[in-house]
């Protein structure tokens, strides 16, 4: 099982036929006027490529890691039934709410399947002057 796409976006959705929609895709930086900051909502689109070799239970792990530790970690099982046929690309939109960033710097969203790192996406948190102080 592979991760074909891992994209941070302002909004993501998918339908049952595997077609997905992204708005504001390609987030790589978040500007904060003070730290710690809480990003209220963003989406992570994970698209996995599933084949018959992936039948059964697969361990799915997604985490966001910063220079000083883990922002969040979610683990779960990805079950592929026996009747699954061929190669299938499955989009999985994930809504990330209340992501708290204590420090500026580099963060990374990592997806692991069965313990193996499949994809990662970098995210930089930048501290910028507030509009009031800049005047």
């Amino acid at each position: 099982m592979e991760v074909s796409d891992l994209i941070l976006a302002d909004y993501a959705a998918a339908n049952e036929r595997g077609k997905f929609t992204l708005v504001g895709a390609g987030i790589t930086e978040i500007n904060a006027i003070k730290l710690p900051c809480i990003h209220p909502i963003m989406f992570l689109m994970v698209r996995v490529k599933v084949t018959r070799q992936d039948l059964g239970r697969n361990r799915f792990d997604i985490r966001m890691i910063g220079e000083k530790g883990t922002v969040f970690k979610a683990e779960g099982n990805l079950d592929v039934p026996n009747e699954h046929e061929g190669e299938q690309l499955i989009p999985m939109p994930m809504q990330l709410v209340n992501m708290k960033f204590d420090d500026a710097g580099d963060y990374s969203v990592e997806v692991r399947i069965n313990g193996e790192l499949k994809q990662s996406q970098n995210l930089k948190i930048k501290l910028i002057p507030s509009p009031q102080n800049a005047a």
């Binding site: 339908n15 049952e16 809480i38 883990t70 970690k73 979610a74 990805l78 039934p81 809504q95 708290k100």
Partner: protein, 85 residues
Amino acid sequence: MVKLHIKNASTSTLVAGSGECQIIDGSTFWNCDRREMSVTEFADRAGISRQAVVKMISGGRLQASMVGEQYIIPQEALVRYLRTS
């Protein structure tokens, strides 16, 4: 159909390919000295609507600060509210 179960998230199961969106609430991973919450969290814990929370903030009856475009409410404000309501 591929089924995904996510632990440590605000929802437990995602059926991949169904078009459903899994919600991962980062606030569940904050360390124990987290002291802020969103309007929605406050509303859920206080048992009132989000609109009521926003109205209280606008009226100065509930302490909150802005992070980006969202209100962040300190934990102490919830405690005060529950004691007086």
